[in-house]
Amino acid sequence: MNVLIYLVPMALALGLTGLAAFLWSLRAGQYEDMDGAAVRVLSDDDVTPRDAAPTLRPGLRSGSIDV
């Protein structure tokens, strides 16, 4: 059982790291705008136009997509 001497503190340290990370994110205002975070991920501001416009095959350009 001697293994517990360092396994248990390690487990606790990991847990404390998680707690500290959460408290940091709380202080940094990460939870101020939960709905915004959900929709901002859909915005492609950070994509340059060249990346954003994949070349479409001619037949697909204006047609509707079947779902």
């Binding site: 059982m1 517990l4 487990a11 606790l12 847990g15 707690l19 959460f22 709905d35 859909l42």
Partner: protein, 745 residues
């Protein structure tokens, strides 16, 4: 109006300096989708001078920083308008800031309690399952648990300890007293047990209890913050602006910046922004929001006018006087003070339960000690068993029973378009047996409408309404509401005091008085002084429109449904009896009174109270404010006067009256579930306590029983959501936050 284009807007009261840049918070209308974020932030950042713009999509607020030498606050708002969004400067209330801080604190406590509960449970499960565990290892685990539990409880238990201490100091009992006692005793006993190498420690129970209760509290608080944010946005949207004379120049300032002694210009169509005295000019003003009277009053130099009145015809100059100097306001303030002081001290269901629960539980624990001592057990065993009784009756289920329902119910109310001002409104609302309505602005729509719209050809009505968009006159405002396409005609000219004209398809169209339009009308307002006529002529076609107060679209059905619930309906109006009678008749309400002043309204409510009735008062006028405060529970529409809204327990959005009915239904349902939950907690205790008294309550049983009962009451609370929420109808109003007001503003 060319003056409007050049007039300066002074928003300095909303602007703060931060790191060398100006900062302003704005409530933005009609933010509905992800694209709006990019449009607003991207659009603003392209404007020279703007340093940063960040939209909070959750509460629809925009924070803008800009360099003042390049841009003005009014310029920021104008830029937003160009992008396509209306924004309203916003002053964060102190209460809201405090709540945000409190919320953060609760979440921190929750995180700490959660961390502690999980890690201690890990150690506890090992102890429970490790039957071949050596005593040294068990003690080691107990001491480790203590090391985690004690600091965690000292930190995360503070919300309960502080509240319990406050209650005890005033010699009262609330649910936090037994909670705090339970936690402290459990920790203390576990420490002693660990020190004496005993097998059972309750560190896990204590921290788990804190974790569960903090979950309930944080959710409750989050719900309250959400509704407050919406209320704040609506207030920003409703905030009036006034035209103030700064020397000879007229500056547009927010009403909140007005001080006694300011001189204001009140144009036709403007809402009077503050109480004061007319310095010059004569006009007719509509005081329906103040007194409920639909007939317009003629005012001239020296007359007192109140905030909330709408100027109808002439331009006035007024002097702002200190609040409370007007005769009506004086009376309202005096009655309010009395009504608030008399407000019966309502004891919440949870506190009533705590008052019964705490003595019973503590007496049981004491009897357990005595019983075991009498049976010949050692003092140590007797005390340990008694504390186990306290832990297992730990009011986990009881303390969650009511808040859990409250969270679900206020969420349901929010979706129904009702914003709660006070926490115990749901409980009080469930007890009512009588509903008193004010008439003007409550049963009727807050603004007059075109009554004969259905009788006019749709294409003609559209033309009339679009022409009306070019006029500032309040009657034209009512007509303009009929426009499907809100595009004014080019080159429309307003003739002050007469009407508005424009060239449409090569012929002149006129909207205004009958004489201005050359229309011969046989219309007679008869004995209905609140109604008005407005004429329209264009290319040989002429039409007269009758504008009057109309009932809310669903008032008749709502009244019938309320009556079907067994509630008595009464109308108490400040308007003339002749104006109240037809409304009462169409709603089938036989008990109505007109021409009441605020004191008489209170007297009527007091008389009902004396009969043992519990009254829901629904009103919007300044004259209703004391009555709202005096009633058992009160509602006001979002269009109500500010003081009135502040004294209402809840505010409802939109044009329909249905939120009142929905709220009563949701509250009654919530009440039933609260009682069910309390009974569930009682049944749980009836089973668990004998087990504990007999000394069989191991920490494992305590943990299982506690989490089981908490989950049970929480699941039951979820049923507080009405089976078919009319979300489809009312959701846009509360989801869009300000959309409902945009259409009526």
């Amino acid at each position: 109006m060319s003056a409007a284009a050049t007039e300066t807007l002074d928003l300095s009261m909303f602007v703060h300096r931060r790191n060398g840049a100006a900062h302003m918070d704005l409530a933005v209308e009609d933010v509905g989708c992800a694209a709006c974020i990019r449009k607003i932030e991207g659009g603003l950042k392209q404007i020279p001078g703007v340093v940063d713009a960040r939209l909070n999509f959750t509460n629809r607020r925009l924070a803008v920083d800009w360099r003042e030498e390049e841009l003005s606050a009014a310029g920021v708002i104008a830029a937003l308008e160009d992008i396509g969004y209306r924004a309203h400067p916003f002053q964060q209330e102190r209460a809201e800031t405090q709540e945000a801080q409190h919320m953060r604190w609760l979440v921190k406590c929750l995180a700490v309690a959660g961390f502690a509960a999980m890690n201690i449970m890990l150690l506890s499960v090992s102890v429970w399952s490790g039957s071949d565990m050596s005593q040294e290892t068990r003690d080691f685990f107990h001491w480790l648990s203590a090391l985690i539990a004690l600091p965690a409880a000292a930190y995360a238990g503070q919300p309960f300890f502080q509240s319990a201490w406050r209650a005890l100091r005033t010699r009262a009992l609330n649910m936090d007293v037994p909670i705090s006692l339970g936690v402290i005793l459990a920790l203390g006993m576990s420490l002693v047990e660990s020190a004496t190498h005993q097998p059972h420690a309750y560190f896990d129970s204590a921290t788990m209890l804190l974790f569960f209760l903090l979950c309930g509290r944080a959710l409750d608080h989050a719900m309250r913050r959400k509704t407050r944010a919406v209320a704040g946005n609506l207030a920003a949207l409703k905030a009036d602006f006034a035209h103030r004379f700064d020397g000879s120049e007229v500056v547009r300032v927010p009403a909140a910046a007005l001080k006694p002694g300011d001189r204001l210009l009140v144009r036709p169509g403007d809402r009077v922004a503050a109480d004061g005295v007319v310095l010059s000019g004569t006009s007719e003003i509509d005081e329906s929001l103040v007194t409920g009277e639909t007939e317009r009053r003629v005012v001239a130099t020296g007359d007192t006018i109140h905030a909330g009145a709408v100027n109808f015809s002439g331009t006035l100059t007024m002097l702002v006087t200190a609040a409370g100097t007007g005769t009506l306001l004086d009376e309202v303030e005096r009655l309010l003070d009395r009504a608030v002081a008399n407000k019966s001290n309502y004891v919440r269901l949870a506190d009533r339960a705590a008052r019964m629960y705490a003595p019973v539980v503590h007496a049981t624990a004491a009897l357990t000690v005595l019983g075991w001592l009498a049976a010949g057990a050692s003092a140590h065993d007797a005390i340990v068993t008694a504390i186990a009784v306290l832990i297992i009756t730990c009011p986990c289920a009881l303390a969650l029973a009511i808040p859990a329902v409250q969270v679900v119910a206020s969420g349901a109310l929010f979706r129904a378009g009702v914003i709660l001002n006070s926490g115990d409104a749901i409980e009080r609302l469930s007890e009512i047996d009588t509903v008193i309505f004010d008439k003007t602005g409550t049963l009727t729509l807050p603004e007059p409408r075109v009554d004969n719209a259905a009788a006019i050809a749709p294409d003609l009505l559209e033309r009339v309404a679009r022409l009306a968009l070019s006029s500032r006159h309040p009657l034209a405002g009512a007509v303009a509401r009929e426009a499907r396409e809100r595009v004014p005609f080019d080159g429309a000219i307003e003739e002050p005091g007469q009407g508005v004209r424009a060239m449409i398809d090569g012929a002149e169209a006129r909207l205004g008085s009958a004489a201005f339009c050359g229309v011969d009308t046989a219309w007679d307002r008869g004995d209905e002084p609140g109604a008005s006529m407005i004429a329209f002529s264009h290319a040989g076609r002429a039409v007269t429109l009758v504008v009057r107060q109309k009932l809310r679209p669903d008032a008749v059905e709502t009244a019938a449904a309320l009556r079907a619930r067994g509630l008595d309906l009464i109308i108490l109006s400040g308007d003339r009896a002749s104006a109240v009678e037809p409304v009462a008749a169409s709603l089938g309400i036989t008990d109505w009174r007109g021409g009441l002043n605020p004191a008489q309204k209170i007297a009527a409510i007091d008389a009902l109270k004396a009969q043992g009735r519990r009254v829901l008062m629904v009103g919007d006028g300044l004259n209703d404010a004391p009555a709202l405060a005096a009633a058992h529970v009160s509602f006001s529409p979002i269009s109500a006067a500010d003081i009135t809204q502040a004294h209402a327990d809840a505010v409802f959005l939109g044009e329909r009256l249905a939120p009142v009915l929905d709220a009563v239904a949701i509250a009654c349902r919530a009440r039933r579930l609260m009682q069910q939950n309390l009974w569930l907690a009682v049944i749980y205790n009836a089973v668990a306590v004998p087990v504990a008294i007999l000394g069989f309550a191991t920490p494992l049983i305590a943990a299982a029983a506690m989490s089981g009962s908490s989950v049970l009451v929480t699941l039951n609370a979820l049923r507080a959501r009405p089976p078919r929420q009319r979300a489809a109808v009312t959701a846009p109003e509360s989801r869009g936050l300000v959309a409902a007001e945009a259409s009526t503003a």
